[in-house]
């Protein structure tokens, strides 16, 4: 099966937002950084954002740390790797709590409402500590940066793919949560609301009080009350965030590895994107073992050939055994990628080989960058130069 290799530069032509999604451990952060660096090298002003609480992005860009503000990466660092930065590369590591606080400050109608939320104990707990708030806030920051319009391109590195789905639902969930509509209705079981809610709901509430305790329900009600006055603002904003995600200027790239599990997740995520009518751009498969396919026929007498060349039978055996191990992995990768391409109707599968060196610094990033932005032919030629 012939796979098409669209050059990444072409794929991202005219885009303003790139969202890299995929399961964990597939090199998503490195890929995001390499894409951002590649676009910056081509003259754009690019910002790469991560919501990954691990400091991977900072690590891979050779920065000591990243804050909630965008920081510019020194172009001299890339020059040392042979990459001339015609544009600018900026990076940011999202602080979910600080972003949430900023958002509240912006949406609150007055200082008193703002402080009522910021000082609410439930707010303080959920805005920083609980799993899930990061996804809400990544979206928000992306939208904010896009609205400010200081960058030509934003590249977002998302958390692992099961969460990436949470990520897609983040604006809707945030609004629903902030609204607290149902709960407020039930907390005031008098007047019009009670008539609408009906008796069944009152029973449900009393049952819930038995399970969770009255104080918690009361605290939650106070929490949601504190948000009243901000609901419309949040709703309007969530709508605009959704619009940005679905805009033709946005591009979702799915990043995965060549093993069965990451490939299945990539297929799953691609399907979800299509269902949600979000702009899918392509898949990047990292750490692919390239096979020396043409040589498979000769491999039978390989140990003998090697023994003759090396004059060392024991070494020849080990070299041949190692080679066949690698071939098996390469064949698995090829099978899995073929499956992936079939599932996605062969649109935009970009393969990055498993490099000899562990990719963790700018040198590695520069190497990945060359693969990502190479045209199909260049990529094949580069792969042939390797094992």
């Amino acid at each position: 099966m012939k796979l098409s290799h669209p050059p990444l530069g072409e794929l991202l032509e005219g885009k303003e937002v790139v969202i890299c999604a995929g399961s964990g451990g597939v090199g998503k952060t490195t890929t995001s950084a390499a894409i951002a660096a590649g676009l910056a090298a081509r003259g754009l002003k690019v910002c790469v954002l991560t919501i990954d609480p691990a400091k991977r992005l900072a690590d891979s860009l050779g920065l000591e740390e990243l804050g909630n503000d965008a920081r510019r990466v020194d172009p001299a660092l890339f020059k040392a790797q042979g990459i001339e930065m015609e544009g600018e590369l900026w990076a940011m590591m999202l602080d979910p709590k600080a972003t949430f606080d900023e958002l509240i400050a912006r949406q609150a109608p007055d200082e008193e409402s703002r402080d009522r939320v910021l000082e609410n104990p439930i707010y303080q707990q959920i805005s920083g500590a609980l799993a899930g708030s990061q996804e809400y806030m990544a979206m928000e920051k992306l939208f904010e940066l896009h609205t400010e319009g200081d960058f030509d391109m934003l590249v977002l590195d998302t958390p692992p793919s099961r969460n990436a789905l949470d990520f897609l639902e983040a604006p809707r969930r945030l609004t629903q949560f902030i609204e607290g509509k149902s709960l407020k209705v039930f907390m005031k079981p008098t007047g019009f609301a009670a008539k609408v809610a009906g008796r069944g709901a009152t029973v449900a509430l009393s049952v819930m009080k038995r399970i969770v305790g009255f104080d918690l329900i009361a605290d939650l009600a106070e929490f949601f009350n504190a948000f009243s006055g901000m609901v419309d603002g949040f709703q309007a904003r969530a709508k605009r965030v959704n619009k940005l995600l679905a805009a033709p200027s946005t591009c979702f790239l799915v990043v995965c590895g060549p093993q069965g599990e990451p490939i299945d997740e990539a297929v799953y995520f691609h399907r979800k994107l299509v269902e949600a009518k979000l702009p899918f751009g392509g898949v990047i498969v990292n750490k692919v073992h390239y096979p020396a396919e043409k040589l498979r026929g000769e491999a039978g007498d390989l140990p003998a050939t090697l023994a003759e060349k090396l004059g060392d039978e024991d070494l020849a055996q080990r070299v041949a055994a190692n080679f066949s191990d690698y071939q098996a992995l390469a064949e698995r990768d090829a099978r899995n990628i073929e499956h992936l391409a079939r599932e996605m109707r062969a649109t935009g599968v970009i393969r990055v080989p498993y490099l000899d060196e562990d990719v963790h610094d700018l040198a590695g990033l520069a190497q990945i960058n060359r693969y990502l932005f190479a045209t199909g032919e260049e990529r094949v030629a580069m792969a042939a130069g390797r094992a």
Partner: protein, 297 residues
Amino acid sequence: MIVTGKGGVGKTTVSVALGMRAAAEGRRTIVCEVAAQENASRMFEHTTVGFHEVELEENLWAISIDPDESMREYVLLQLKVRAMRDMLFRSRIFNYLAAATPGLKELVTIGKIWELAQLDRKVKTGCKYDTVIVDAPATGHGVGFLQTPRTFANIARVGPIHSQAKTLDSFITDHENTGVAIVALPEEMPVNESAALEHDLVSEVGVAVDRVYLNGLYPERFSKEEAERLGELAATEDGAAKAAARAALSEWGRARSQRAQLARLRRRAQAPVKTLPFLFEPDLGPEAARRLSRRLT
């Protein structure tokens, strides 16, 4: 035993291997998956692991903890009346709160893990387990996940949720009976992250980290002197011999850099570091996990 680490490091394989090991030693063991990953189902091809305890082999069970199902079970245990539970699940307010409250899914998941670990099970049809192994979410989320009970205990200052959340927090931070194993890979960033994760787990969550498993370590198949000879061969030959020599050189280079990462991890981790070999197998099934289980101590 809670198994955590960054994504893609083989937490599921290690969890299953640990389960097999415990089962082989005669302990009744259950491996729990969270967040509906169903990775263990993938490992045992003919078994679908869902929200029920499935016996995989002698002494070894598995369950995939679905938060919605856990919630239903929990509420039923609280109310003791099925009709009341069903009424609650039909009510808009309950569904709204269950979906909107961040961290609730994690909380009921940990609640289910706790329930599985009790010798006096709440679910009367369930077995009594000697060992419960949890295939936990990836780094970052892993810390948040384990902190959930404390967060809830702080939010609900009094009442049943408060006391139950406190019970779960004590369960997780019980150094006598609950331990965490971190799975790492022999690469620069995963080693950094594992060291940072260990620090956060110990100082922020307060759990006992018992072990760090360095997974996927390549064998040292070639010596430096042999690598030099293979380098010459790769430079002068063509065809299969060249490709094989190059593959050997890649292997040698990776094995060497992995040893350097192992040394770094040993310097940085507080808990003892154990290594697990890379398995040159296209797909990791139960047999692979079994071989790993024999390497576990």
